[in-house]
Symmetry: C2
Subunit: 306 residues, 2 copies
């Protein structure tokens, strides 16, 4: 499967209807996942806050995990060693364990398994499969919104010249992508960073307003190699954040390239932004003559860690 | 007060004995704080996991906050607008509210106020004052360990030539500091990033093992401008993480500068690493002829946001 086909495939994944059978009465939710699986957890946590959602990106789980915990282990292959280790620990602590994977060791470790139907994708191209069961389970996305997101992504699939223009600007001068998001799309800014890493093989940086006003601000203004950074900032509908973005651009004298989400609901906007960033990093990879789908070093690392 | 004196002052802050009067029986803990105050929350969360600890770095709080929540609002000045806003919301939701500040609007908003005694520091130099009440309240640090940390930091105050050498290596070639930590010191890697931003006015990047193996790895190997990055990696005592660091350095062909913590307990090591990073960024700022204590743009931003 061509990597560009995988990108298009995101919109189909939004119709993935699986859900967690038992989702009520828990004191907290713990989601274990690395890389693209972790991003699904991050997006969910930013949208859901009825109970604390704790994310695990390591081998072990926090002490508070108990029978009162809904634990969700996510790994595309089902064999990510950190996630498998964390999920086994959650089982020992009697949490209610749900696993999401296309197979592997994870399958069978939990009280419920959600099978990802297509096992031929890059893990990071399967974000929809890993995210939708989380959103479906808590009634967080309407059918109409999924339909709208589908059309928005289709439009991007047809015409992503804007994304290509950003990639071109980054490529000229071999700049370091810096992505600044804000709630409810802070996790999407982080997703962009990881996609620049994997699709384009460039180091990248992300942070969010208002937090970045408490540390990056002085550096944006005065860093050496200022011309080496390419700032992309998600436009916000929150008045205080809008003002922060405008004032920060002004006092740091930095060029902030505004990224404006399309869509009505937060879900539509999140999916649009996610897809938009995928295209920038995809185009950048192509311009660099690196294969966006190549993650050979990560495979090599897994072999050497085995 | 000279900024270098402020750095020395961290070791005195470790003896700050204040604690939260009521710390038991809560279902969860929510800590609101931006910048240096947020870092105190991050360090605490990495050490404490008896109940979920949720960090807020924005104006509003999650829906789950209730009477069963211990809410802690931290701001050195007591006037950080995001933290004041979040704390007021927590009060309205009947959480048990504790405030930590040197004064300002925060004082008086909660059920208990912990007053930071010295109001003349840079906020980020007061991390000890903001962290110790959290650790003290849950019995997480022994007197002996504080004593040992005091001596470790004193040694660094006397001789920080190693830190200066790192700063010099970064300054030559005007490199971008990349700090890679791992639990239980992932939050310290983030602290280093923020200190490079504010003390040295350079953009910087941090991440942690094992998560960075799932995204940064390809980029570390193949990014353009590879020579522009200066990698500092915290040595780990965890066998799998040690192996990950070694294999990653090998397959990416990147120079990983190892940073080795001194001390016995995690607390001692965390404080040593924190102080060590402060010195690198301080020296880098001096070498760049920027004033480490200058945060004029952040002040300007606050004025324009008012």
């Amino acid at each position: 499967m061509e990597f560009i086909d995988e990108l298009h495939f995101l919109k189909e994944q939004l119709f993935f209807k699986e859900r967690i059978c038992r989702n009520e009465g828990f004191e907290n939710i713990v989601i274990a996942g690395m890389g693209g699986s972790g991003v699904a957890g991050q997006i969910f946590r930013e949208m859901y806050s009825e109970v604390p959602v704790h994310l695990v990106d390591d081998y072990s789980i926090p002490r508070f995990v108990s029978r009162e915990t809904l634990f969700i282990g996510i790994s595309y292959s089902g064999n990510t060693e950190e996630t498998v280790s964390a999920t086994k620990e959650a089982r020992r602590k009697k949490a209610h364990v749900v696993t999401i994977s296309s197979g592997g060791k994870l399958k069978g470790l939990g009280n419920q398994h959600i099978a990802i139907p297509n096992a031929t994708l890059q893990p990071r191209s399967a974000t929809g499969y890993m995210l939708m069961p989380l959103l479906n389970s808590f009634g967080m996305v309407k059918k109409k919104s999924i339909q709208s997101a589908y059309w928005l992504l289709s439009e991007l699939d047809k015409d992503n010249s804007e994304c290509k223009a950003h990639a071109k600007a980054i490529m000229q001068g071999e700049k370091i992508p810096c992505i600044f998001g804000s709630r409810p799309f802070a996790s999407i800014a982080y997703r962009w960073k990881t996609q620049f890493n994997e699709n384009a093989k460039v180091l990248a940086y992300s942070n969010s307003f208002p937090e970045l006003n408490h540390n990056d601000t002085m550096a944006i203004a005065q860093t050496y190699s200022k011309g080496k950074f390419y700032f992309m900032v998600f436009a916000s509908e929150r008045e205080r954040i809008r003002k922060r973005i405008a004032v920060t651009a002004d006092i740091t004298d930095a060029q902030f390239n505004e990224i404006r989400a399309k869509g009505r609901s937060d879900f539509e906007k999140a999916m649009y932004l996610l897809h938009y960033g995928d295209y920038i990093s995809y185009h950048l990879g192509r311009m660099r003559n690196v294969a966006p789908e190549d993650v050979s070093l990560i495979q090599k690392l897994k072999v050497r860690m085995a």
